[in-house]
């Protein structure tokens, strides 16, 4: 593993203003919610880095900052040396971002959408055709290439979203909860592919709250609690012989001062 940070977050802070309705739901009188609070970490080239944390810990917000969809209030992050604040377009060309929030137009076919998003990333036609053939065959999309996305099953739709996200062969693949909502077969296809991408030298950053996924995929883990980096390191360093689940709750209880 080359010790070059391909993704580097430096003191990221992000707050959101809560509406009255949101304050009622969250049972708080605070108008500002701190989603990410001075978060710093580095993910290295060719590794799978996992952001592990409970719901609302700030994982998705962090990934959205890295993908330039939202801007941090303070701090900066760098992908392949490009600042998410100052070089948004360059950053977006270096990443493939997968999240359930990003949807594909149901009217179009996987084949058309692959070409369209290829064009959005400026991929040349010959390269695009080659990647389409390879990726569609790899994920079994080729038989559904001309079927409207709205007519695809959830699993197939996830696979199409995956190949569309990496149409431009990005250096860094960012996945927000990669196996959420997937059936066991599709989830395996996705996790196998992540390992395959790693073998190809790609860097992968994923967020999850599933311990088994971390153990199976991640080289290094960052545990986020309340928007802060609670612990970071390789699985071996972090777990000290314990399971990641036990270690996580140990850290969680240490910070929150309460037993889960």
């Amino acid at each position: 593993m080359e010790e070059t940070a391909i993704v580097k977050a430096e003191g990221l802070r992000k707050t959101f203003t809560l509406s009255e309705k949101q304050r009622k739901i969250e049972k708080t009188s605070q108008k500002l919610k701190v989603a990410v609070d001075g978060l710093s970490f580095s993910a290295y080239r060719g590794e799978i880095y996992g952001l592990l944390g409970p719901n609302g810990a700030g994982k998705t917000t962090t990934l959205r900052i890295l993908s330039t969809l939202i801007r941090p209030d303070a701090g900066d992050a760098f992908v392949g040396g490009c600042s998410v604040l100052k070089e948004g377009e360059k950053v977006r060309d270096k990443i493939g971002f997968m999240t359930s929030e990003l949807k594909l137009e149901g009217f179009f076919t996987p084949s058309y959408l692959f070409d369209f998003f290829g064009a959005m990333h400026g991929v040349d036609k010959a390269m695009l055709a080659e990647r389409k053939e390879e990726l569609f065959a790899r994920f079994g999309i080729d038989r559904f290439a001309e079927v409207k996305v709205s007519d695809l099953s959830t699993g197939m739709l996830q696979k199409v979203s995956l190949v569309v996200a990496i149409v431009h062969d990005p250096e860094v693949v960012i996945f927000d909860e990669p196996t959420n909502g997937l059936d066991v077969l599709t989830a395996k296809v996705v996790t196998d592919f992540l390992l395959e991408l790693k073998a190809m030298g790609k860097s992968i950053l994923l967020s999850t709250h599933i311990f088994s996924l971390v153990e199976k995929l991640c080289d290094r883990v960052g545990i986020i609690i309340d928007g802060r980096m609670a612990a970071e390191g390789t699985l071996e360093e972090l777990c000290e012989g314990k399971s990641i689940e036990d270690k996580f709750f140990e850290i969680y209880e240490g910070i929150k001062g309460e037993t889960v």
């Binding site: 969809l69 939202i70 060309d93 990003l102 949807k103 137009e105 009217f107 179009f108």
Partner: protein
């Protein structure tokens, strides 16, 4: 390449769906068919009737007036039995019964309104539910009113044989077109732009497909242009369809020949009209794109567009109700275009004003595209809950 792909995507989305194409073209076709049909019914309906009228009493003057006016359509039959005659009218066997008071003509000639005595009377018994009877009643009362007026005649208006109205039929149509068409054009363009822009921009935002494009390296200004350019072309087709529907059916609706109207305008007038109409399409599309980008859902965008619609409608109607509008209005989008279109249609002389209006429309379009691009970069607008 990226902008081209964005534009192609919008066209593909639209033209790949036959339902959307039909909803675009159909209004124009329907307008043409309905207006033409209405025109046909109004102007081609046979006006001949066969009036079989009973007369109780006598008036040589009135009967002569009726016979002259109605000609062979009218058959007058004298009767003495009022009850039997009324029964005939009730049964629908005759068109109407006219009852003159005794010695009607002489009584009319010698009647002095200042005497305080009751005036001689004509009574017409008829059936309003019967078209022929009703038509006769209307025509007869109008003739009698005119006759009554002529007896105490002080002066006449336009009763000679000369031609008093020097307007040609084409000029009449041009006047109507000038007053009505700009408003209709703006209305049709607006409705055409509204449906497709709301669906394409607010719809994509609501469905989360716009965010997928935002994660790519495409420039936000390209995304804005990639919406406004194709949507303007599509909206222009819809607006053109509706415009042609109105323009082609208007002469028929007014019972006049089509060819006579169009020769009244010079080729340059057509070019300027086309330029004005074409320039207002991207203006409205880009304005709708701004509110669709701002809105969180199609529903919210629809409510915002209601406000814009009122503004656009008011601007397009102001010139119809306010006289003496100066040339400076060409600096106001929509209003300037409407006034320029009106001037071209009415007297065909609005070159400078028309060109300035086009430039103003395009300048505002550029401003709205810039605003949309800014909004696409705004986290609060694009991802705010």
């Amino acid at each position: 390449m990226k902008l081209k792909a964005l534009i192609q995507k919008e066209f593909r989305r639209f033209f790949g769906d036959p339902k959307l194409i039909i909803t675009l073209i159909l209004p124009g076709v329907l307008i043409y068919l309905i207006y033409s049909l209405m025109g046909g019914l109004i102007w081609d309906r046979p006006q001949t009737h066969d009036y079989n009228v009973l007369v109780l009493g006598e008036s040589a003057a009135v009967e002569a007036l009726f016979e002259t006016t109605f000609g062979e359509e009218l058959t007058l039959t004298h009767t003495d039995d009022k009850d039997a005659a009324l029964e005939e009218v009730k049964q629908g066997n005759v068109t109407a019964l006219i009852s003159f008071s005794e010695d009607f003509d002489n009584a009319v000639a010698s009647y002095d309104p200042s005497s305080g005595l009751p005036a001689p009377q004509v009574e017409i018994f008829y059936r309003s539910a019967d078209d022929t009877s009703s038509a006769f009643y209307t025509a007869a009362t109008s003739l009698l009113s005119a006759y009554e007026g002529s007896i105490s005649n002080a002066f006449d208006v336009n009763l000679g044989d000369a031609q008093y109205d020097f307007s040609s039929t084409s000029e009449v149509i041009m006047s109507v077109l000038g007053g009505l068409l700009p408003f209709l054009v703006v209305t049709l363009i607006f409705s055409s732009c509204m449906s497709i822009t709301l669906e394409s921009v607010a719809g994509e935002k609501e469905r989360g497909t716009l965010a997928t494009i935002l994660v790519t390296s495409v420039r936000r200004s390209d995304i804005a242009l990639g919406k406004v350019i194709p949507l303007s072309c599509i909206a222009a087709i819809g607006a053109l369809s509706s415009f042609l529907g109105i323009a082609l059916s208007m002469p028929q609706l007014m019972g006049m020949e089509l060819g006579g109207v169009f020769v009244e305008y010079a080729f340059g007038d057509y070019l300027l009209l086309l330029g004005l109409i074409v320039s207002i399409v991207p203006l409205i599309v880009s304005a709708m794109t701004v509110i669709s980008t701002y809105a969180k859902s199609v529903k919210e965008a629809s409510s915002y567009s209601g406000v814009i619609m009122i503004v656009v409608m008011v601007l397009s109607l102001v010139s119809t109700f306010v006289s003496g509008i100066g040339d400076w209005v060409c600096c106001i989008p929509v209003l300037g275009t409407v006034v320029a279109i009106q001037r071209i249609l009415e007297d065909g002389a609005a070159l400078v004003m028309g060109l300035i209006s086009i430039a103003v429309n395009l300048a505002f379009t550029a401003l709205f595209i810039f605003l949309t691009a800014k909004m696409l970069s705004s986290e609060r607008i694009m991802f705010g809950k």
